[in-house]
Symmetry: C2
Subunit: 362 residues, 2 copies
């Protein structure tokens, strides 16, 4: 099935960002509001959703999609059965050169499946991975990119080596880190720690299989998050997802406890002094500020926003999607993988383990 | 090698708790200080360490051990080569009926290896696991027991089913929960989520293979920690260790940020009001208060204290070790496993996968 290459350069720069208006806990209201703000800020946006069902669109261009894949729908079935859904149509818009990127705050698994099935994998990519930025407040360092944070529950060392390459390309394009440091998440600093997966991945990355676009710095542990220990942290999608949700849960618990405490009548005066001082930290930690997670390894830019995204989160997601599409993220990821395919590692892996179907773990 | 059964009942109650005086970042000073406090509170203690090298022992009984396994020593080698180390001698004291339990803040892997090799596994136990209590502040619920939190990087479903049984026995003995709820750590609530390990474990626990001593409540996610969602959370030792360290790192980061902030000159007055209000929460979260982690599945009580343990942490660890030894923890774990051996599940697993050597992952 021959397909025209996606637009690049100035042709790409003229395209809008396709926004799934129906996806997310606060859709379509907050999503459309965010899209309108992004448009006012000068980024072309294409709203994808039910005609007449998107609320006050402010005259933004629309792409009609009669169906919606719900937050609780099975991802693979949703994409298969709802071919006229906003998610599938948004991914098709990128595939067909009608949009430069897609953004959705909807069902994560279905977003992945739509992007994977409609945009397709980049040549040589075993499995796409979700890259999530984790802030490093107070360190002066850009966020650390954690991947895979949930696309693939089961991973091979071949996949983890590719995640290192893709993550480094993302860190470079997103945060301007010239030679990103890459670490492997394990349960001790020594290379002998972990399961056979970590041991093999460690030895291959230490042997330079990550290529020239990154510097491997060994293992890190769960306690090294937020400390700016590496620009990229690589792990399987099960561990990455548990770690990410554990961070979220821990933060939410402590911040909730603190908020409750500062709301007590006797502490009103103290709260007045403390809360403004807390704001910069709270802003750095705010997931809405990061622009969301990114699906790497597909032939197009796909930003996965948090399900609870507000208009502000959507503005950030659209801005990041735009900047990375124009900045050549997909090309950079493709190059990082192509380099390894030439070396031969990946081709062998591809032949022995054909990655036929997506494994969404939303 | 026939071995006399360990003492039980009133004979056991007369025995001291063996304390590794040489293990931990603050050994022997804080360790011995904690042992003395526990002794003053009425718990018999046996200090294990270098004669004359333990500081002010206050006349506590001593068991001589000329060697020390360092925090960075390889666990298996350390135990093999340093047969006269404080850790190995402490474990032998329990084996030989000279102590009711052992406590160490030293090298975690070596503590596990000593306990495993000297005390031995309980009949039918595939692999011992580390159980770590995680507080549930503000919920009115006892801590949640997370296991395995680092003993076995690689696990089978057979092992996870045993962890459920052992964890429930621990929750019952330690916190008095009559019928503990047990959850499986995964990346989604649906039973279809996770790797084949979680799917198989879920289906077997749902089918009742955890036995009558627990109630299986399905999957939980990383964001469910601190919320009292289950009395026991079961996972493999790799994921458990990453989750535990991620919690620790997240908490330490936020508490550190808050402490820095409240130390600013302009906030002195607010700090004076806020800090006392924060104390109850800080105390609930303080790892030193929990009494430490516990190695379950060996034939004796073995408490693994945090490497940075102070005298207070050691007092708590000795108290917990004493109470659980007298309260019959080992017998309860043995019963929970024996029940499954009768059913036949474990015997088959034992034959097909003989667990020969410890896999310490300190």
């Amino acid at each position: 099935m021959a397909r025209a290459p996606r637009p690049t350069g100035s042709a790409l720069a003229k395209l809008p960002v396709a926004v799934d208006a129906m996806g997310g806990d606060r859709a379509p209201g907050e999503i459309v509001a965010g899209a309108r703000q992004a448009s006012q800020a000068g980024i072309a946006v294409l709203l994808v959703g039910r005609p007449g069902g998107m609320g006050a669109t402010g005259g933004l261009p629309e792409l009609a999609a009669s169906e919606v894949i719900g937050m609780d729908d099975d991802p693979a079935q949703g994409v298969r059965r709802k071919k006229d859904s906003s998610l599938v149509r948004a991914a098709e818009a990128v595939r067909d050169g009608a949009a430069m990127a897609m953004v959705s705050a909807g069902n994560t698994g279905a977003t992945m499946a739509s992007a994977l099935l409609r945009m397709g994998r980049l040549p040589g990519v075993l499995r796409p991975a979700i890259a999530t930025p984790i802030p490093n407040p107070g360190t002066g360092r850009p966020p650390t990119v954690l991947l895979d944070s949930g696309a693939n529950a089961e991973c091979s060392a071949d996949m983890l080596v590719q995640f290192a390459r893709m993550g480094a390309a993302f860190s470079r394009k997103r945060y301007g880190v010239e030679l990103p440091t890459v670490a492997l998440l394990s349960i001790g600093e020594e290379k002998s720690k972990g399961t056979p997966l970590e041991k093999e991945t460690h030895s291959r990355l230490a042997a330079g299989e990550g290529g020239g676009g990154l510097r491997f710095v060994g293992n890190v542990e769960g306690r090294d998050f937020f400390r700016g220990q590496a620009d990229v942290i690589v792990t399987d999608g099960f561990t990455g997802n548990v770690a990410l949700k554990t961070m979220e849960g821990s933060m939410r618990f402590l911040i909730g406890s603190l908020t409750e405490l500062l709301g007590r009548p006797g502490l009103a005066q103290a709260a007045e002094a403390v809360i403004p001082a807390l704001l910069p930290l709270a802003q750095e930690l705010e997931p809405e500020a990061t622009g969301g997670a990114m699906l790497l390894g597909v032939d197009g830019v796909c930003v996965i926003s948090h399900g609870s995204s507000s208009a502000v989160a959507i503005v950030n997601a659209i801005t990041v999607a735009h900047d990375l599409a124009v900045g050549g993220l997909v090309e950079a990821v493709a190059e990082a993988i192509a380099e390894s395919v030439v070396v031969g590692t990946t081709e062998a892996a591809l032949e022995s383990d054909p990655p036929e179907k997506p494994t969404p773990q939303g």
